[in-house]
Amino acid sequence: MVERAKWAEYEKAIADDHFYYARSCIRQNFFPGSEKAFLDILKNKLGKDIYDDPIHTSCTGIGYHSDIVPLETIMTVVARQFALMGEAGYENFATSCITSFGIYTEILHTWEEFPETKERTADYLMKATGRELVVPKNLAHTSDVMYHFRKDIAEKMVRPLVNVKTGEPLRVVEHIGCHYAKIFPKSGVGGSEFPYVLAGMIESWGGEVVDYPERRHCCGFGFRNYLVQANRGYSIANSQKKLESMAPYRPDFIVCNCPGCSMFLDKWQYAIAEMEGITYGQRGCGIPVLTYEEMAGLVLGYDPWELGMQMHAVDVEPLLNKMGVEYDPSAKYLGKSGKYIGKPAPTVVNRAVEASVYKLRG
């Protein structure tokens, strides 16, 4: 391991403008407003150029990590994404998913270490799609991009991460996806030793980062651990280990930069509460789990239902109340067109909120 002497060596190069945006294949189901919010913040709040390409595909990372998609295939799929970026006239690749980011980083390193694999992929790409292989000048995860512009966002901040009743900073647990910097430490801000990408945002926007014993433990997403139903006990046990470790520090919310982590830390709280009756948040509820786009959206004054926060398993209202966010409870389950989208059944993890706050218009 190369020892790094100063913080500058833990920073990574992140482009300033002109990004090609690669979406995640799963997070629009679970956190549907996050990617839209990211695009809106970059385009309209920060005035950056970012291209949301409708014809790129999944990176097939989930298939790759579950031994269904072979290495040559995923390399060709990734090469196609890069080729699309080149055709659109961009050089900076920004990906929304941590698994994809790990895949892109891994493949770029493989092409560098074993040039014959790059040649073979270029050949496959040409035969399959008639496209030329290009390599991005800069590869960043979208949380890197958000981190890069954290001070610009802080200047436009409407609601800092502060409890409006007490005036104290909100206590935030940050969770970094394993594939962000644990595979290639230099690919992340702060490396795998001091990941600062989310902590930097939290500190810039007025919050307080919670340090707890299992801070760097995996969320339990691990593909093999949840794809097979019988194995899900391992997955949920990892989340529970983290939740048990962070609960004594009374965090106000959890923020993640990985689609899987935010999904599992959120949904497993529901499952643990239903199976064992245990909740880890304050006043008998769960701990709200946000994506970093949702956190940035709240800070910049977006409506929580515009951000898709009604889709969380753990209700976010306790956090919204602490931050002083004005929201319409009756609009929670109204879709974009104003049509009622249906209300989930009451759950143990949200019992305190469900019982008292809502009077839905059906």
């Binding site: 139903q229 019988a230 194995n231 899900r232 006990g233 391992y234 949920i236 046990a237 529970q240 280990k241 499952a271 643990i272 239903e274 199976m275 064992e276 009756g277």
Partner: protein
Amino acid sequence: MALNFGYNISKPRVIDIDRNNLRKSVEIIRELPELQACIGCGTCTASCTAGNLTSFNFRKVHTLVRRGEYQGAYEELNKCMLCGKCRLLCPRGINTRGVIMLIKRKLGDF
């Protein structure tokens, strides 16, 4: 009523010394402090006559006991025939037969 999702929450297999009751373990070490000199080489287990024919593993048992994992230790140590070969071979000169007798005495009610 708890919902059944088709799986359970796996229990951790780590030994949590902070949660274990170390009272008996401390007593054992106090009475036979030489046990602390164990380097975990496994000579005792490799030379064990009982272990040759059964799953008995003396190194595993006394390591678990020292960490407060007493469950089943007494029954396990009943497999020992007290032949003393492990004591002859222990590179740290630990009275292993004495350790076995002491653990059984201390954990008889577990």
